[in-house]
Each structure stands twice: as C-alpha cells, then as structure tokens.
C-alpha cells in the first residue's frame, strides 16, 4: 500500500464528513492557535524587553548602593568620589566611561502646561555611556557643571507635552519645580518602553540637581553607570570596580555595601521571566492538545465502528493488520495535521490582531511568528493525531474479518 494512496483516501474520508471533521479538530485548532499566538506575542515581548535593555547602552555595568543578598547596617552611599576612583585607568583598566547620576521625579512646566517626569542629574560623560543623541541643541558641558547652571535637556515626550513639538524649543525657558531652566537640547527619540522611558526624561547637570532639585547629602549619587571596554571585559570591569569600592568603603570581606549589575544580568532576568512564561503557556497548550487528541480518538473510535463492514471487506480482499492500521493512523494524523494548520492560521490572525491593538494603543509590541513555532505546531499536532489514533487503529486492525463482514 502506498502512502500517497492512503493519504488521498484519508482526505476523501475526512472531507466526506466536513462538519464532523471540523468539530473534531476544533480542539486541536484552538490549542495550536493559542500556542502560536502566545509564542508570537511572547517572542515579541521578549524582543521589546531585551531591545529596551540593549538600547540603554553597550557593555554597561550599574553600580548601586546596598546589597540585595544581605542586610547591612548603614551602607555607605555611593559618591562622586567613588565615580572618579572607578574612572582611574590604572586601577580599572577595563573601564572606558563612568557616568554617575541621581534621579527623582520632578514637576516641569511651561506656559501653564505642566507634568511630572523623571529628572536625571548627570555629568558630561553621560551621553557617551548611555548612547544619547540629540535631536537639536547641545549637551551639558563642564561649564554648566561648574556653574551649576539652570539648563535642561528634554526627552522628546516631555518637549511634546510642554511645547506640542519636539524641535525649535532650544532657548525656551521652562520651570522645573518652580525654578526657571533654559532648554539647551532635545534628545533623539528612542521609542519609549519599559519602566524607565528614555523619551520621558529631563537631564540636568548633576551639580545643579544636587543643590537645587534632588537634594542629596554631600556628594552622594544614586547610580554609577560604568561602560566596559568590550563585552569580554565586562567581568573584569566588575572585579575592578568591586575592588576599588571595597577599599574606599572599608567594608569587611564578603559584606559589600554596594551591588553591581551588568546589562547581561538584566537580560538574563528578562529571559528568565519570558522563559517561565513560555513554559507556562506550553503547559496550557499541552492540555488543550491533549483534550483535542482525546476528541480525535473519540471520533476515530466511532469511525471504526461505523466502518466495520468496510474493514471486513478490506480484510477479505487481502488487507493485513498493518494495512488497516496504517489507513486509520493516516486518517487521524491527517485530521490532526489539518487542525494544526488551521490553528496556525488562527494563531497568525490572533497575533496580527494583538499587534494591531498594540500599535493602536502605542504599545511597543510586535508579535513575531517564528518558523520554529510553526514547525513545532505542525509536528506536534501530527504526533497528537498519531498517538491518539493508535488505539482506534489497533481496534480496527484487530477486527475478525468474519465478524466485521457480518456487522450490521
């Protein structure tokens, strides 16, 4: 018996009872559709998250105060002095850029418009470390730093809110916490996403921020951003920074009062979360495929009973057990495969829909259907059909020809 002939016959049998076949594969359709859509959305979300983490800069390390693993009394704050020490090329040869910063929520206003946004007090090294480009104007300079100048760089979203435009705002004076600040530049839009939307920020000189807006004791800073020489030197930069800070903070061994995250740590955390999500969705998909498979088994059992005489006839003219087995397995596998293919289309439609809704609501989510997911769904639905078709097919193959021919 050729497989091709079997497939044609199975198709014929499936198509001869369209309503029943359709209802039978509904479970598989919904299961596969859900998997495809979820995977597409999950992949899209992962890309968005990892993309926004990568957008922060390259080969970055984040030095923060305190410890995540241990409770410490009185962790010493990070200071500008710490940042300068890390910037020493002899003590930390793997480091190419250091950008300490302080951050807080501030109220910005212009001509009656006002809104709350994130204010960052930064140094002149910030744009190099964070990959900041300006749409117009210029960045904060040493002169601004020394003079504690009241100048500000606006994120494009902030400019949009205050001025209704993102260009031609340099030279305007806005109010931050009631104090006049001159706009000296506007950041290039990066596509806002995530918890720290880089487009919805105002950058001011750190010295100005410390004294006038986000008051901090002495030279304390919230975060020190450090850029390593290359991806390979991130680990050694981590070691070097830790060594410098241990000496400066005079902490006992094993009781660091600071924490260093690398960009890779964030990426791994994000991937970890999306992986858990994927496993969870996979579980749900597995259950729905199981239910779909049982539906197929049920209908195949009915079909075997209905076609008992046909099976008897086939056996009478010389069909062996494996011929009958193959016939019914082909049918259940094909049924399930068709369900899987419809499910893939359904999933594609769903993820397009979610993408359209996300686009309409300005969310930064682009569902992506990977070839892997499609292949997996195809393979898996066929396997489900084969597995759940096994028992009905065996029943058919084991029928006694005499009994089967006599069956009414």
């Amino acid at each position: 018996m050729e497989l091709w002939q079997n497939i044609l016959e199975a198709l014929d049998s499936i198509l001869s009872n369209k309503v029943r076949s359709g209802l039978t594969v509904l479970g598989i359709v919904i299961g596969v559709g859900a998997v495809i859509a979820m995977l597409a959305i999950g992949t899209g979300a992962q890309e968005t998250i990892t993309g926004s983490i990568s957008d922060i800069g390259t080969n970055l390390l984040f030095v923060m105060r305190g410890s995540v693993s241990e409770e410490l009394r009185n962790p010493k704050p990070l200071t500008l002095g710490d940042a300068q020490a890390i910037d020493d090329p002899f003590a930390a040869p793997s480091v190419v850029g250091v950008a300490p910063m302080i951050q807080g929520t501030i109220k910005v206003g212009y001509a009656g418009e006002s809104s709350f946004t994130q204010g960052l007090g930064v140094t002149v090294d910030y744009p190099a470390v964070r990959n900041v480009d300006l749409l117009e104007g210029e960045f904060i300079s040493d002169v601004h730093m020394l003079g504690r100048s009241a100048v500000a760089i606006l994120g494009p979203d902030v400019a949009e809110v205050l001025f209704g435009r993102v260009e031609g705002v340099v030279g305007e004076t806005i109010r931050i916490e009631g104090q006049p600040f001159r706009v000296i530049g506007v950041k290039m839009p990066k596509g806002g996403a995530g918890f720290q939307n880089p487009d919805d920020q105002v950058l001011i000189p750190m010295t100005t921020a410390q004294t006038r807006l986000l008051r901090r004791s002495r030279d304390a800073v919230d975060v020190i951003l450090v850029q390593a020489l290359s991806a390979e030197s991130v680990a050694s930069a981590n070691e070097e920074i830790a060594a410098i800070l241990r000496v400066r903070h005079q902490t006992p061994i094993g009781e660091d009062d600071f924490t260093i995250f690398t960009q890779e740590d964030f990426l791994e955390t994000a991937r970890g979360i999306t992986n858990v999500l994927t496993i969870f969705l996979g579980g749900i998909a597995g259950i729905s495929l199981l239910v779909g498979g049982i539906g197929i088994m049920n209908i195949m059992l009915v079909s075997v009973t209905e076609r008992t005489r046909e099976i008897g006839l086939r056996k009478a003219v010389g069909a062996r057990k494996r011929d009958i087995m193959l016939q019914f397995l082909t049918e259940s596998a094909l049924l399930s495969l068709v369900g899987g293919l419809i499910g893939i289309m359904l999933g594609w439609g769903l993820s397009e829909l979610v993408g359209a809704i996300a686009a309409a609501s300005d969310a930064n989510l682009y569902p992506t259907i990977s070839l892997d997911a499609v292949l997996l769904a195809t393979l898996f639905s066929t396997a489900v059909g084969l597995f759940f078709g096994l028992y009905p097919a065996k029943r058919a193959a084991d029928l006694e020809p005499v009994e089967a021919l006599r069956y009414e």
Binding site: E2, Q5, L313, V317, R320, D323
Partner: protein, 224 residues
Amino acid sequence: MSEWVIEAEDLIKIYLMGEVEVHALRGVSLRIAPGEVISIMGPSGSGKSTLMNIIGCLDRPTDGTYHLNGQETSDLSDDQLAEIRNRMVGFVFQTFNLLGRQTALANVELPMRYAGVTNGRRKRAIEALKAVGLGDRIRHRPNELSGGEQQRVAIARALVNNPAIILADEPTGNLDSKSGEEVMNILLGLNEKYETTLVFVTHDPEIAAITQRVIMLKDGRVEG
C-alpha cells in the same frame, strides 16, 4: 500442486455463544477440482456460511485440515491468511460490499493495492471491468450504478488478482432476475475462459441447477 483446488478433511467448527457451544460443522470433508462449478446448499443454520468462511480463509476450523491450492492453512497467522485470500480467493457478496466513496476503478484496484502491485495496476483493473462489461463505467461510484452493475464491479474486483477460486455468497440475492441472470452468465463465462473454480453458497435452486455439483449441508454435515 495438488490435483484438488480445495481439499477439506473432517472440518469441525465450534463457536462459543456465551456459555453455549455451537457445533457449526461436525466433520465436513469435501474435494473440489480446479475448474469445477459447485454450489453449497442447505437451510439456515446448516453451517454453510461457516464452511464458506473456512473455504475462503476468513476463518480457521476448530479441528480438521484444509488445503487451498495445496497449501495447508490451519496453522497460518492472520496476516498470512490475508495474503492467501488476496492471491487465491475472490469474494462476491450478496450485498456487493463496494467502497461507497470510491470509483468502480478504485474498488477493483483495491486487491492489487494490498498485493503491492503497482505496475500496470490501472490497466489490469480496466481490463477486469471490461471483462464484466463495464468498460464505460469505470469512473462511476457505486451509488451511480444499478445493483447488477455494482455486483459486476464486485466480480471484477474478485477476479482481478487471478484467484484460484471465486466464492459467491448468494450473488443474485439482491438482484432482479434479469440482472441476476447477467451476473450468473458473467461468472460462468469466467469459469469457461479462465477455468476459475466457482463455489456458490445459495438457497436458490435455479443456481444449484446450473452448477455441475451440489453439496447439501444439514446440521453441520454433508448430506448424501
């Protein structure tokens, strides 16, 4: 090669119907020579269906030996029996038993598919259909054919693998007398042309009258 196409020795068949043993055959012996045309008759419950099933290798005897074309069959597996049926036996049933969704051609091709014939399969099927006078009906499905035509398709299917015997179980039972006569003529014509052994299982005395020999069964034994 035996001189008998069918050689049955002391066939006994006992069924278990629930708790009760049913003795369908109580020692049937018969020999049929190649090219013979015989009919097996008998009232209901006489065991003629059981005998036909054993002759057609659809079933095994409880005891006794059965040789088909010289081949001992009682210790063969299910799949080996399937092969014997495929190569040596053609079945013609009262209810035709065609595959309803398949064309006449596909129905006739079916035994060759199970035999693994690929070369010239279509051609042989068309020839078989021409032999039963349905050369112009090969693309029709059973529901587009009359009862007599359907039975002729079944005959084409039975003869397509050149079997040693054709077993016909009430072949005219569901047909009007004219189609019945046509079907009988075709079967007898095959016997004349190819020397195919014909075994009819029937109630119909008219069929019995045509055949060369009649085996009467009663209560699981051959009478007379």
